[in-house]
Subunit: 350 residues, 2 copies
DNA sequence: CTGAAAGCGCTTACAG
DNA sequence: CTGAAAGCGCTTACAG
C-alpha cells in the first residue's frame, strides 16, 4: 500500500548524497542552483515528503504541541481549541487535542502519556476538580513540566509559578452586577459553579464587591451552586424560586455560562415568568446560539479563539508570565429595566 | 529541561540489554520474572516512557489516525470528532484533527501534508465544494490513498470505490415530508443546501418523493438554496416569503440543519408569524441547544458520535464497504398540525 | 530466556 | 558547494 519513497531513493535517483537532499528539503542555501533543481525535480516527480517522525527522531523537536481540554462538546472549548490550532499552525506547529482524563486518570501515569508523544509543549485548560483529584492533577503538572513547557488556562494558585492566562473573574462578575444595578435591579442572583472552585471563588468575590458598591446586601439564598449544564442550571433556579416567597424572587440572574442561562430561561418560562420583564438573565461564553434564544441572551464574550492563540504565543515564548484575557459584555434582549415593586407572579401556563 | 531517559539508561541501570528492556516494555512473555521485575523497578523509578516517535520509526505503524473536518466550531463536527476520538482510543490509537483546507489548499500538495505524518489511516468528512475545488479534492484523495487507508463520511459518487459511511439523505427527507404531511401540511418548503451538492441532490430526491407519495405538487418557490448558517437560513426564508403572496406561504419548513432552522425561526418571528401555529420547522443534527429554542426544535438526530466511532471501525477493518448511518426524528414543539385554510397574516410586531 | 547487531529515515557536525 | 559517517531511540530477526 505504502508507496513512500525515502530520502535514499531521492538521492539515488538525483545522483547526489542524502545530505544534499536533506539540504534542499530544509531550504538550506548552501546548495548550487543546478543540484537543487535536479533534486527538486525528483522530489516532485516521486511525490516525496520527508517523514516528520524521522525528522522528530533526530532534530529533538517534533513541532507539535498539545492542548488538554475538559470536553470538546462544549463549543466554548471547541473555540479555544480552534484558536490554539490556528495559532500553532501559524508558527509551523501542529496541535494535538487530549481529553482531560489523560491528566487525571490515575491508572496510566498521566503526565507521561503526554510525555510519550514528545510534544514541544502543551496547553492545559483548567477546570474545577474535587480536592483529591486536583491534588493529583497538580502533581501531574509538576511531573509533566519536567518533560516539556506548559501553559495553563484558568485560575491557578499563585504558589505555582506556571505561565498562565486567565480571566479576571472578579472583574467580570463585578461589572455584570454593576450593569444589572444600572438597570435598577437589586435582587440579583448568581447561579452556577462550585464553592471550592478557585475561579468561582473569585467570581463570588466580584459579585459581593459589586453588591457592596451598590450598597446592596449579600443574600445567601441568591447564591446557588451547580454544574455547568442547562439541566443543572434549570434545577438550581427552580430550587431557588421554590425556597423563596415570590415577593423575594430575584429579578436578575447572573449565570455561570450560557448553558446554565438557557436552563434558567427554561425554568423561568415554566414558572410563568415573563422574560425579560420579570427576570433578566446574563450568560457567559457567548455561544453561537445566544442570539437565537428567546429573548436573545445577553452574555459575556470571552473571545475564546483569541485566548487559544495567546496561549500558544505564551507557550512558544518560553516566558513564565501571567496574562489576563480580554472579555466583553454583549447586550441583547435578555436584560430589561427592573420593574419597581414586586415581580408579578402568574401560574405556569407553559 | 528534558530529563527524559532512554532505553539505554534503563538497560544500564538494570544491568540488562536494551533488547530486554524493549521486551518488558512491550509485555513480551519471554522474559524471566526476575529480570522483568528488576527492569520494571527501574522504569518506575526513573519515570521512563518510551518515545512513541522512535517506536513509530521502527515499527512502521504510528498508531495514530487522522480526521479531516470542515470546521470544528459547528458542534455537529465536534460530535463526530469526539466519537472518532473515543473509537480510536478504544483501539489504542490516537486521533489527530486536520482542518478541511489541508486537503483543498492548492499551495501545499494537500494529501502529502497528511502523508508526512505517517498516519495509519484517515477519516474524511465530505462537504460540498464548488466543482473545481471538488475536482482537486478527488485528486487529493486518490493521492492520499496511496499512502494510507481512508474512510469517507458523506456522499461519494459510486464511481469512487472508497469505504464510506453516509446518511441516506433521500430517506431522511422523504420521512420528514411524510411526518409533516401527517400533520396536515401541504405547503412544505425545503431550505438550505447547494444545487450541485450530491448530498443535497439526494435530499431533493427524497423531498420530491415524499411530496409525490402524498400526491402533492412540487412547487419551485418552496425550494430555496443557501449555506448552512443561521444568517443564511434567515435570509433564504425571508426572501421566499417576500416572493410569495401570504396565501401561498409555506406552512412548514424542512431546514438543512439546526442552524438554518434557527435562522428560519428568527425570520418567522420578525414577520409576525406565530410558531409553531403558523409555521412548523424541522431541523437536522439535533444540536444541544435545540431543546432550548422557542419553540423547542424538532430535529433529526444523526447520532454523530456513533458515526465517528463507526468510521474508525471501518477504517481499522480495512474493508471497502459502504455503510449507512442511523438517524432518528426527535419530536419537540416546533411542529404543529396545519391549520386549515390560509395561514393568518399579521403585520410584524417584533 | 537474553544479547549483539542491523535498521527505521532522517539531521548534523566534520571534512574536503 | 558536497559527501561520508555518526547518531536520534527504539524494534526485530538472528544467535546462543
Amino acid at each position: 500500500m505504502s508507496v513512500n519513497s525515502t530520502i535514499y531513493d531521492i538521492a539515488a535517483e538525483a545522483g547526489v548524497s542524502i545530505a544534499t537532499v536533506s539540504r534542499v528539503l530544509r531550504g538550506e542555501r548552501s546548495v548550487s542552483p543546478a543540484t537543487r533543481e535536479k533534486v527538486e525535480a525528483v522530489i516532485a516527480r516521486r511525490n516525496y515528503r520527508p517523514s516528520s517522525i524521522a525528522r522528530g527522531m533526530t532534530s529533538k523537536t517534533t513541532h507539535s504541541l498539545g492542548i488538554v481540554l475538559p470536553k470538546l462538546l462544549n463549543p466554548n472549548y471547541a473555540m479555544i481549541f480552534t484558536g490554539a490550532y490556528d495559532g500553532a499552525r501559524r508558527h509551523g506547529y501542529s496541535m494535538n487535542m487530549f481529553p482531560w482524563k489523560s491528566l487525571t486518570d490515575q491508572r496510566s501515569t498521566p503526565a507521561l502519556l503526554l510525555a510519550e508523544r514528545r510534544l514541544d509543549g502543551v496547553i492545559i485548560c483548567l477546570e474545577y476538580l474535587p480536592p483529591e483529584e486536583n491534588e493529583r492533577l497538580m502533581r501531574s503538572l509538576q511531573e509533566l513540566r519536567q518533560y516539556m513547557p506548559i501553559v495553563l488556562i484558568g485560575c491557578v494558585p499563585a504558589a505555582f509559578e506556571y505561565p498562565t492566562i486567565s480571566y479576571n473573574m472578579a472583574d467580570i462578575a463585578r461589572s455584570t452586577v454593576e450593569y444589572l444595578v444600572g438597570l435598577g435591579h437589586s435582587k440579583i442572583a448568581l447561579i452556577g459553579g462550585v464553592e471550592a472552585d478557585r475561579d468561582d471563588l473569585r467570581r463570588d468575590v466580584g459579585y459581593r464587591q459589586g453588591l457592596e458598591e451598590a450598597q446592596l446586601p449579600y443574600v445567601d439564598s441568591y447564591r446557588a451552586y451547580c454544574g455547568g449544564t442547562a439541566e443543572e442550571g434549570a434545577a438550581a433556579l427552580d430550587q431557588m424560586l421554590s425556597s423563596l416567597l415570590p415577593a423575594h424572587w430575584p429579578t436578575a440572574v447572573i449565570a455561570l455560562n450560557d448553558l446554565v442561562a438557557m436552563g434558567c430561561q427554561d425554568t423561568a418560562r415554566k414558572r410563568g415568568l415573563r422574560l425579560p420583564e420579570d427576570l433578566s438573565i446574563v450568560g457567559c461564553d457567548n455561544l453561537f446560539c445566544a442570539p437565537y434564544l428567546i429573548p436573545a441572551l445577553t452574555s459575556i464574550d470571552t473571545h475564546q479563539q483569541l485566548l487559544g492563540q495567546k496561549a500558544v504565543e505564551l507557550l512558544l515564548s518560553g516566558e513564565t508570565r501571567r496574562e489576563n484575557a480580554a472579555w466583553t459584555l454583549v447586550r441583547r434582549d435578555s436584560c430589561a429595566p427592573c420593574k419597581s415593586g414586586e415581580p408579578a407572579f402568574r401560574t405556569a401556563g407553559y
